[in-house]
């Protein structure tokens, strides 16, 4: 019997838990379970079950339970199926065939720049994003962010109603408030009105903002994003006297040098650049020549990981390096001495090989500066590219893509000053979350409080919304009409895939209210913009064409001539004090600036290079860790410019010494149930004068530890030949090096009879030369195959459910190894070890060579997983899939089973796509064409590293790749005869640096 005291204790526990959110909640549960009071409480609360819950099961009870479950096992099947209903349309839309998905072209933007996508829609529900092959920034690929967009769309934590100081209000009330503002501001020409947006490239939004400024000339429009392009623009101003966009023709470059630039991973146009880069990374004799990539960087990036030569250098020293390079190339200036004598020799050695290599490839080389570097480095790089004759060849300049390129930090500072001085009466914040993302020393939140009327439009009721009077839920990009531009200026019309799920409004509609046309919809506004520009032509035709193609033809910016200014390069600033630490900020590889913090897919996506999930950490080099006596997960106190943070440490080989990298985007306080309270907030250390790196950091180890969830702990291959790699020279001398490293045993070496595969035989080839480890394939697989999110605690137990993992291995010295990425899906072994041990035949082979997993047969013995040498099988220890939340039901791919508890699952080679293609081909009495089946991971891959197809067809792409000399089977010595094989990595190091 429960006493009053006990129920009081339980209620107290519940109350304690109710205040917690996200990861904190789960952590608390775990801690709770381990406390002795909990055991005692459980015993009092459930006396009959206490023994069973808290004591090990004895033999007798075990037998009794087993007997009972055996007896009942078959009974479940003897029940009637539940009654189900069919709900047809009343009036069926044209073109819609129930059960067949439709694809619509639209675009998703990040930092204002668009990636063209095709969105799969199942009877009105967008379920999967694919890249748009016709879009210049996509070419059919996407980043992880675009893949995860559908989860954000259906996120139940999105803001759902218009609120005024917490009370739900109708749209008409908001319009009334706007009218009052306009009436007050009109006589003052808008002197008290300010609009704060993120980076604007949308022609319609720009048109509306300009109309607003025309009506209220004293009003001001500010732009701010934490990941802006201020440095690149300032660098262009230094070099050319005006803002220009720098675009690269990477496919033309033989030698590339990236200075702190993650050009393949996280930068405008990265998908396109990665594709172009990969075209020059496939060493086939007689075909294209391989390029060579040098990277000098502070924080390791995916670009650095695939470089042929990588020089870890603290961020402040990269300017010194660039100046030395410019001086050596005869651009004037004295090559400054590297302050750190221990590194000087290494740097000189690196530069001594790099410079002649660049000079040998005049017009076919390329130097790229990263946004994190100061304007001077960008100007230097422009000068170097000019000197090397690369302009017009590998690098071209265009007019800016942004509607109004401004120095965003200066723009925000101006706004903050105005707010603090009481000059702002109404602030309209369209998107963004400046309270969270603004540099900490600007004290944005305090200044914001001075503004009498604050309005915020955003997807979530976030940190900024909490400090605003009015909050309007924004429509997701998949719910609204808009337009946007890609990195090269190409315009895409954004079209809605679904009516707004909640009472959302787009930025266009909110601005229309301010422009005195509240009756206009986003559709009207966007159409009006384009109708103006096509006044003379057949507009309807052009409009439909643009919607169909996903791009507006002829809107890409053409190259513009620029002239390098005399004395463009500013004199060198005094070098940073040596020996002190530097703090480097980077956008999070999966959460960007924090806007995706409530997206479970992106939270659980292992970050490239660190494989961390659900957290951010202070990344340090092994050398720095040794100097401070640090180990992984040890909490340190970071002190930078008078501000402190306590952060767990993660040691990253290849990181620059004396540098600590932290990722922005975590530590949200109002992200939602998933993202609130995860990690620490790096913005609290970021100041306006040092947005990307700050010198003078102090680091003090504490005694605390904080457990992090990492999916791959070390870089070592334990003496096995998992990743096989060679230099181009060695590959030329010995093309079959990969196969000879560990020759596969003879095929007959098995007790089981050989199964012949006639007809189709599906297989996959993954090129390790071109894989850049961006991890987009993992999210694509997750979206396609209804893979659940498990949470931090489960990841720590090794129970992440991803069907595809990207392993990273290091070859060479431990402090700075050469890194290789290896996507590992199910190998679909012909001699599959998993199949032999399944007692219920839940995993068996198909006639086309697939290793099938039959969920409804699986009883969860997990023998298959134990016997799988590749560890690609995933077990549902709990009911991970959310079957309750209504909006998440819309997210599911209807062609794939949503798995339940107690069932093993794994990569199926996207068998649903195979089936669709097979049926389509058979209905047309033809064989399946090569390239007709594209797996989700293959479709998303920016470098086309993954190729799937019929290996029985010698002309198929996959068969030709498997015939390549570089082809080898992972753990082939086990005679598993995997259908997934790898092409060994070949890098092209400079022989002079060997």
């Amino acid at each position: 019997m429960t006493t009053a005291r006990d129920s009081g204790a339980l209620a107290a526990l519940r109350a304690q838990l109710a205040t917690l959110r996200g990861a904190e909640y789960w952590r608390a549960l775990e801690a709770l379970a381990e406390r002795p009071e909990t055991a005692e409480l459980l015993a009092r609360e459930f006396p009959r079950h206490a023994a069973g819950l808290l004591e090990p099961v004895d033999r007798r009870q075990f037998l009794r339970l087993m007997g009972a479950s055996l007896a009942l096992a078959g009974l479940g099947a003897c029940s009637r199926a539940p009654t189900e209903t069919i709900v047809p349309y009343v009036r069926q839309p044209e073109e819609l065939v129930p059960g067949k998905p439709l694809f619509f072209a639209t675009a998703l933007s990040l930092g204002g720049l668009a990636t063209g996508v095709l969105v799969e829609s199942h009877m009105g529900r967008p379920t999967k994003v694919e890249g748009n092959p016709d879009h210049p920034a996509s070419l059919g690929a996407t980043n992880a962010f675009e893949q995860a967009a559908v989860l954000t769309l259906y996120d139940p934590d999105r803001a759902q109603t218009i609120t005024q100081t917490g009370a739900i209000r109708p749209w008409s009330a908001f319009l009334g408030a706007v009218r009052t503002v306009l009436d007050t501001e009109r006589p003052r020409r808008g002197a008290g009105l300010r609009v704060l947006t993120e980076t604007v490239t949308s022609p319609t939004l720009a048109r509306q903002l300009r109309a607003l400024l025309a009506a209220f000339p004293a009003a001001r429009w500010h732009q701010y994003e934490p990941v802006s392009r201020d440095n690149a623009q300032a660098g262009a101003r230094l070099a050319f006297g005006r803002v220009v966009e720098t675009r690269y023709q990477i496919e033309k470059a033989d030698v590339l040098l990236a200075l702190d630039a993650d050009v393949l991973g996280c930068s405008p146009g990265n998908l396109r650049y990665a594709r172009a880069f990969a075209t020059r990374r496939r060493p086939r004799t007689g075909e294209v020549e391989m390029n060579r990539l040098y990277v000098v960087e502070s924080a390791p990036s995916t670009t650095g990981a695939v470089a042929d030569h990588r020089l870890p250098l603290r961020a402040s020293a990269i300017e010194t390096f660039a100046r030395a390079l410019a001086a050596t190339l005869g651009l004037g200036g004295e090559p400054p001495a590297e302050g750190n004598p221990t590194r000087a020799h290494e740097i000189a050695f690196f530069a001594a090989a790099l410079v002649p290599d660049l000079q040998r490839h005049r017009g076919r080389s390329l130097v790229i500066a990263g946004e994190a570097q100061p304007p001077a480095v960008h100007a230097l790089v422009h000068a170097i590219n000019h000197a090397l004759g690369n302009v017009g060849e590998t690098v071209v300049y265009t007019d800016p893509v942004e509607a109004e390129p401004v120095d965003q930090l200066a723009s925000l500072r101006e706004l903050v000053d105005d707010m603090a001085a009481g000059r702002v009466d109404t602030l309209l914040i369209l998107g963004g979350n400046p309270v969270y993302t603004a540099p900490v020393d600007l004290a944005f939140a305090q200044s914001l409080a001075q503004v009498p009327l604050r309005l915020h439009l955003s997807l979530y009721h976030d940190e900024t919304s909490a400090l605003c009077h009015w909050h309007v839920p924004a429509t997701h990009e998949l719910e609204t009409w808009s337009d946007t531009r890609a990195y090269d200026g190409t315009v895409s019309i954004v079209q809605p895939l679904i009516a707004p799920l909640y009472d959302g409004r787009s930025a266009h509609e909110v601005l229309a209210a301010f422009n005195g046309e509240p009756e206009k919809s986003s559709y009207d506004l966007v159409r009006a913009t384009w109708q103006e520009r096509h006044a003379d032509e057949d507009f309807e035709r052009a409009w439909r064409r643009a919607l169909h193609d996903g791009v507006v033809a002829g809107t890409a910016l053409s190259p513009t001539g620029v002239e390098l200014r005399q004395g463009a390069i500013p004199p060198a600033a005094p070098a940073a004090t040596q020996g002190s630490l530097e703090l480097v900020f980077r956008p999070d590889p999966t959460l960007y600036d924090g806007r995706f913090a409530n997206n479970g897919w992106l939270q659980e996506l292992p970050k490239p290079l660190t494989s961390l999930t659900w957290d951010n950490a202070a990344l340090v080099s092994p050398g720095t860790a040794e100097r401070f006596g640090l180990a992984n997960e040890r909490v340190v106190e970071l002190r930078s410019r008078g501000r402190t943070a306590r952060v767990p440490v993660w040691i990253v080989p290849g990181h620059a010494d004396d540098t600590v990298t932290i990722h922005l985007g975590q530590g949200r306080t109002r992200a939602g149930r998933v993202g609130t309270g995860v990690g620490f907030d790096a913005y609290r250390l970021r100041t306006a004068d040092a947005p990307w790196f700050a010198t003078g950091l102090e680091l003090e180890p504490t005694a605390e530890r904080q457990a992090l969830a990492c999916t791959q702990h070390h870089y070592d291959m334990e003496g096995r030949h998992l990743v096989r790699a060679a230099s181009l020279v060695d590959y030329r001398a010995h093309p079959t090096f990969a196969q000879d490293e560990d020759p596969a045993p003879p095929a007959a070496l098995t007790l089981y009879p050989r199964v012949p595969y006639e007809g189709y035989a599906w297989g996959m080839a993954i090129d390790l030369s071109t894989c850049i480890g961006c991890n987009a394939c993992i999210v694509a697989c997750q979206a396609e195959n209804n893979i659940p999110v498990v949470g931090k605690t489960e990841v720590q137990r090794g129970r992440a459910m991803h069907w595809l993992r990207v392993a990273r291995y290091g070859i060479g010295q431990a402090e700075d190894p050469d890194l290789y990425f290896m996507p590992i899906p199910c190998m679909h072994c012909e001699n599959a070890p998993c199949e032999l041990v399944c007692p219920v035949e839940a995993t068996v082979h198909s006639a086309e060579g697939l290793n099938d997993m039959v969920y409804n047969r699986c009883v969860g013995t997990r023998y298959c997983s134990n016997n799988c040498p590749y560890k690609v099988r995933r077990f549902n220890f709990f009911q991970y899939a959310d079957w309750e939340t209504p909006s998440l039901k819309l997210l599911r791919n209807p062609d794939v089973t949503v798995r339940s508890r107690g069932v093993m699952e794994k990569c199926t080679y996207c068998v649903q796509r195979i089936t669709v293609a097979r049926i389509a081909a058979e209905k047309e009495d033809r064989p399946i064409r090569d390239g007709e089946i594209v797996t989700a991971c293959q479709a998303v891959c920016p470098t086309e590293a993954i190729v799937f197809g019929n290996i029985n067809d010698p002309t198929s792409r996959v068969a030709r790749l498997k015939a390549d000399a570089r082809n080898y089977a992972l753990l082939g010595e086990l005679n598993t005869r995997p259908r997934t094989t790898y092409l060994a990595a070949v890098r092209n190091p400079n022989p002079e640096l060997a």
Binding site: G74, P98, V854
Partner: protein, 216 residues
Amino acid sequence: MPQIFHPSTNTFSRVTIFGAVIVIVVLALVGGSLQRSSYTTEVGTPREQPVPFSHRHHVGGIGIDCRYCHTSVEDAAFAGIPPTQTCMNCHRQIWSTSALLEPVRESFRTDRSLIWIRVHDLPDFVYFDHSIHVRKGVGCATCHGRVDQMPLMWRTQTLHMEWCLDCHRHPEQYLRPRDKVFTMDWEPPADQLALGTRLVHDYDVNSMTSCSVCHR
């Protein structure tokens, strides 16, 4: 030394041992037959619908083709349940005041869907595609029975996996010429095996039995 057990214990133990075996066997048989019985499979049980739509009248009586309503049967996995619009194509004109049809008119007026009860319902882990079966010469009536004789729909087949596999292993027993797929009263000829074997060849039927063909 006296006997510990009475002689009748022998009989008692025999009865217990053999009885237990018999009980298990009987239970298994009962369970098995229950599983295949029409109680569980609902074969032959007409299902009540919101509107008592009669296939016998519309198909058998008037002679409407299957594809007039089930429009996507040749194109998609799902054969398609007609939108209310399709009913109203005719019932705007005929029986336009019938009380039985009030739910249809109400649906059309209010733009709210009719909610039909599923008769042929496969488990959620089975993915069946109508279009390929129709293309390969499986007649509607082979799985759905003589729909033209059903006032209300019922199942004529168990939809068990063994039933699927029976045809997938021996398609020649069931196939018919493509032009007869939608014909309700087609009867297999005496030499069905010969016809079926020829159709298997002509239609390039390679009915697969791998698990992932239906389960994924």
